[in-house]
């Protein structure tokens, strides 16, 4: 099996540690908040406030379950518009109180359904991209599993984007890519390879800033080890980001995303 397919299957494993497990291990006194104040509370997005050692932080993440029951509660990790709007509400709250924001991303993509369209899935994602790009407080995003397209990006317009070794991030699933572009869903492995969706590839083209190796025995068998590393990295990175003047922070974030694109002008 190719490296890319190996990561795809690891990222999607039902035992893959989820956002709540990371929150429990990295932060203290996590207090969960609910609802977008507009329509509903989306179980696919978990968010609230907590301490990172002594630093108050806002934490938001996309939640997947380990069992069918858990997955029904969190819609298999595919947020509806109210999930993205809850995330934005909590991020704006963080801005007001100048707390850094840490987001955890693990989704096959934003939910595709009638209700999601009626309530403006496109608008919800678009709004998050715009508001995150100018949020006057530091944001760090961590891809812990799947990173499916706009539904992942909607929580990842950040100052620094991190990813676990077997995380992934792509414009669409390799299955979708193969069936749409080649009309042949059996060419998934080829698609996964071509799409450069693994942490190593993404690090090379600067879509992510940092990669964390996973324990050899598997992330689910030694989650504490990775959680400690992430906590250490956050404690090293956040104080510097917090010290930055807001215009400097925002200009750097602007440039981080402004640079993407390959073209000629002859």
């Amino acid at each position: 099996m190719s490296e890319a397919m190996k990561s795809v299957s690891i990222a999607r494993k039902i035992e893959r540690p989820n956002t709540r497990q990371f929150i429990e291990r990295i932060f203290e006194d996590f207090m969960e908040f609910h609802g977008d104040r507009l329509f509903a509370d989306d179980g696919a997005v978990v968010g609230g406030i907590a301490f990172l050692e002594k630093m108050p932080v806002t934490v938001v993440g996309i939640q997947k379950g380990h069992t069918l029951e858990e997955n029904l509660e969190c819609n298999f990790g595919s947020p509806n518009p109210e999930g993205y709007r809850k995330a934005l509400r909590l991020m704006k709250q963080a801005e007001k109180f100048h707390r850094p924001v840490i987001t955890f991303i693990n989704t096959a993509g934003a939910f595709c359904g009638i209700g999601a369209e009626e309530r403006g899935q496109g608008e919800a994602i678009a709004r998050n991209l715009l508001e995150m790009s100018r949020l006057k407080t530091p944001i760090i995003s961590i891809f812990i599993g799947e990173g499916g397209s706009g539904g992942a990006l909607a929580l990842a317009v950040s100052d620094s984007v991190w990813m676990l070794e077997h995380g992934m991030y792509s414009i669409l699933s390799p299955e979708g890519f193969a069936s749409i572009l080649w009309r042949d869903s059996s060419r998934v492995a080829e698609a996964a390879e071509l799409m450069k969706m693994t942490a190593k590839d993404l690090l090379k083209n600067e879509v992510i800033d940092r990669m964390f190796f996973e324990p050899k025995e598997g992330l689910e068998h030694n989650l504490d080890k990775t959680a400690v590393e992430l906590k250490k990295a956050l404690l090293e990175t956040l104080p510097d980001l917090m010290k930055k003047e807001t215009p400097v922070l925002l200009e750097k974030r602007y440039k981080r995303f402004r640079k993407f694109g390959e073209f000629t002008e002859s």
């Binding site: 359904g113 790009s133 317009v157």
Partner: protein, 296 residues
């Protein structure tokens, strides 16, 4: 997929694709229809005499709004002689080394007669200065890759620098899949440029045209201060087949059309194409402080 490959009308002419076999058959068939004189509307299925279709490209029978190229759009939107194109020579590279991408682009360039899926520039609309960006649904399904993202971002940055409003006509099948994750990043890039334009207190108007979907909906299409749409335009995030495949239900009549979006609060106004220029002019004037405050 067919949604974006097809025009919403088709010509009854043989055109260049006519094969020799068809040629022979045509010669036998009497009387013959002269090439290119008739088209069929995909909405009402009426056969239309081509000369009856005006520069607005409406079905004379059912008023369906046919899809338009940026050039056709500029002709009915901008004041004559005011259009100045920006970044006209930008062409894509192949960031993912997608096999055959160069051919896909070359074919699209020939078909659409433009170098990439978006055209940007500045112009006057009813005497009002504005930056204008237009997409072409016939260029690789109106998808957004590096060039579309860069051109729209530069147009917005140009507007911010020169304190001008931005008007964007959207039509898109979503992100350019052949450019992979780089095309996803374009969504963030355009959105952040719009954030700066917004911070500067400047006006952004989007005109959603058929079809506007995927990554373009989930970035700049839905971020207008004012969002206009043409009648019956398909506007949504997810494609209808994807939704059906997810929920295994029939989709309601009129789902994701402009009227549906208006009903659900995502579109300010549905405007008939013949009225668009005038409405845009009025909106621009209402936001032009120098001219509108004279009477205060």
């Amino acid at each position: 997929m067919n949604l974006f490959g097809k025009k919403n009308y088709f010509s009854l002419e043989g055109g260049e694709q006519r094969t020799k076999k068809n040629d022979k058959r045509r010669q036998k068939a009497e009387p013959s229809i002269p090439d290119g004189m008739w088209i069929k509307c995909n909405t009402c299925k009426a056969i239309i005499y081509k000369k009856e279709v005006t520069e607005y490209k409406l079905c004379p029978n059912c008023d369906a709004h046919f899809r338009m190229s940026p050039a056709e759009r500029i002709a009915i939107t901008c004041d004559e002689g005011t259009w100045e194109e920006l970044d006209a020579n930008m062409r894509p590279k192949n960031p993912m080394d997608y096999p055959g991408y160069e051919d896909i682009i070359e074919k699209a360039q020939k078909k659409a007669g433009i170098l990439e899926g978006a055209v940007t520039g500045r112009c006057k609309i009813c005497g009002q200065d504005t930056v204008l960006a237009l997409m072409d649904s016939h260029f690789v399904m109106g998808s957004m890759g590096s060039v579309v993202g860069e051109k729209v971002t530069r147009a917005v940055e140009y507007a911010t620098k020169n304190r001008l409003p931005v008007v964007i006509f959207t039509t898109s099948g979503g992100a350019r899949m052949q450019e992979g994750i780089i095309s996803l990043m374009q969504m963030a890039k355009v959105a952040e440029a719009l954030g700066k334009h917004d911070d500067a207190g400047l006006l952004y108007v989007t005109v959603l045209t058929d079809p506007t979907t995927g990554g373009v909906t989930a970035s700049f299409a839905m971020l207008g201060d004012i969002i206009l749409s043409e009648p019956k335009a398909l506007i949504g995030f997810a494609g209808q087949r994807v939704i059906q495949g997810t929920i295994h239900q029939e989709l309601p009549e009129g789902f994701q059309r402009a009227e549906f979006q208006l009903e659900h609060g995502f579109v300010d106004r549905i405007v008939h194409r013949e009225k668009l220029r005038e409405e845009l002019g009025k909106i621009l004037l209402l936001h032009n402080r120098q001219e509108s405050e004279v009477t205060l």
